[in-house]
Amino acid sequence: MKETLDFIFAGVGGQGSVIAARMIGDAAIEAGYRVAIGETHGAGQRGGSVLSHVRLWKEGSYGPLIMDASADVVLGLEPFEALKSAARFLKDSGTVVTSDHPILPPNKNYPSMDDIFANAGKIAAKIYALDATQIAKDAGDVASLNIVVIGAAFGAGVLPINEEILKKTIAERFPKAAGINLNVFELGKKMVKQRE
């Protein structure tokens, strides 16, 4: 029996994966879950890999780290980071929901998108993708890409939290940006597509 719902949020420093994980945590408490989130902080430096483990459950108590090959869902703000964390943490036949917008390293040495998704498909039963960066940019604030991915996760049906609670949490987190953030949540929800 699976006792917890385990999500890995994967991104690159500066993309907002830590804040996205906390927003899901806030909403989950409101929805009656207990929550543990694990993450590592390092130097105040942008561009490195950032992983957040988000665990939701109703009974008992759990630590903040998800065991290898046991996450239910990998939520990617960046496709290679999503694959990397899926390889270690996603359970067989789990789900990946990810942005397919790459962040290239300085030497531009980056695998092809086909390779990334083909390999993710060896683990995941379902993969959902969208260009969260472009959607956020078009909506007027590239920093909202993390909320596009939350919208996509909800659209893909992997977040067990009521839509109203999610929207309330998103609106309250950054009151000044509530308009854009709620808009990109909707866009993420509608535009996410399952890959064949």
Binding site: T40, G48, M67
Partner: protein
Amino acid sequence: MASKVAIDAPGKKMLLMGNEAVARGAIEAGCQFASAYPGTPSSEILETLSDVAKDFGMHAQWSTNEMVALWAGAGATYCGQRALVAGKHHGIAWMVDPLINFAHWQIGRGGMVVAIGDDPQGHSSSNEFDSRNLASRVFEIPVLEPADPQEAKDFVKIGFELSEQLKSPIYVRLTTRVCHGTGDVTYGEIPKERRRPDFFATPIELGMEMISKYGWVDMAYLHDRVHTVRLKEAEEISNNFTHNILTINGGEELGIIATGVTRHYVEEAVRKLGIKAAFLQLGMSFPLPTEKVRKLLKGVKKVVVFEETDPVVETDVRSFAKDAAPGVQIFGKISGHTPVSGELNVLKVMNTLAKISGKDAPVIPERADIKEMISPYLGMRRITLCAACPHRASGYVVKKACEALGIDYIGVGDIGCYGMMGLPPILSFQLTNAMGGSIGMANGIAKTGLGDRVIAFIGDSTFYHAGLPSLINASFNNAKFTTVILDNSVTGMTGFQPHPGTGQNAMGEKVNPVSIEALVRACGIDEVAILDPYNITKSIEGTKQLLSKDKASCIIFRRACSTEYLRQRRKQGLAPPKPFYVDQNICNGCMTCVNEFGCPAIIWDDNTQKASIDDAQCRGCANCTQICPQKAIKMAVSK
């Protein structure tokens, strides 16, 4: 958003990071004094309190170092107020001498909680060590080990009560997964009354009647009192501690003892493996709750201990069991059944338990083909100094100046972001150790006579923290070396805390900045240059001038941290500075920018064999325009 730790709503559930929960615990305990020096994973404790201290009649301070933080906190306890002193495991090393004293001589009427973030695995540290060794063996003070944010909050509050009961500092041992773990926390009440300060430090108050009787103090008596009175009482408390939970259903052959966050790993591992085990969870690990341990040992044949990082509890259990239950086999780090270093996790705990109970170890899918596909790209996001970081420019300047003078120097680094100056391509130094090690070791290296020059690289905050006594030592002992102070006007590595040079403190008060150059001159260093590393040509000249003199000298490279600069601009609603670009017609692919400077905003294209600039990363510092031999890098015209 108003700080969520300040919300006065008993029973409310909030999502808090462990460090925020420690802060909330201090507020719920009516703590009126908090001090710390920043250090990952503990920095958010004081950061959180500094935002709300005024609302709760509390003074919160970033102290110049952890020793000062502890002394200041002790001062508050002698005036009857509760004091929280926070830091990371490296920080406790700076508190050792005063803490031993307070453990022996007693604190004042106000309780003292010392909350320390150990960093098993050394995620953000230059080593991993188990500070419980100091707390239990050297300070001999009670140790509480919360498993999650809820307990972090609760244990701080309990810690203050125990501290006043036992007249001892109480050690709250946190770890990275507790400090930086986030979880639901149910709030308690916030006391409304504040304690009026009063000075309590008479011999009677401190339990040293012998001063009045004999006019002297027997140091052995003070130590004796720790063992015969305090630790006895503390052991009783440990036996009755509600978070030292013994669960025996009957018939178990295996017993498990676990502390801190490993308690959650054990619960999950036991469920996943489907094994039967008696379980003793230790929220208070020192002194050992011997009665509960005795009960556990009585019923089982084997006991395994899970703890991070050293076998502290395991050692105590082994020594207790030798007489209490000599037939019981004890497993742990000492027996080689749990890892002797690094963090634990559910998988490691499952592997240990499977081995001991004769079960199959969990099978983790190999996924070798996927890992092979990934592996060539794993190094793509290497840790590096930020774009526009002044430290990169400073390191480049020193390197170029030394090359021009033909100086082959021995470089010693220190603790901060600038530790990355020791990495390619800047390579400013070969050696980095612990806080203050740069100037400290330069004192010795210079005396050996090795190398053309010795250069110590130290950050501004680290200089105040640990550099100053070593620089005084250099003048006193006539050690000739050059100190490079990298002044980016903030404690950058740990999240942009103010320091004595910034003119603002944790309470947000404007204060007189403590001048680094005045300190350096007062230490007896006459040759001092203050340079702006963003002006690379001028800085190289200034550095050459200084290094060409055969005297002890100091260069202060002064330029704001580029990340903090951007944060401040964003706060003021200002756009980031305009990015630069590489004129592809002029770039001849010499790679000077990539191989000698290595800014992460500079991208090398293998196909075109030319450099370009990622305008999402470029922060417009213009440093690269000064190092490009072809002058191919230009400011972008507005699009």
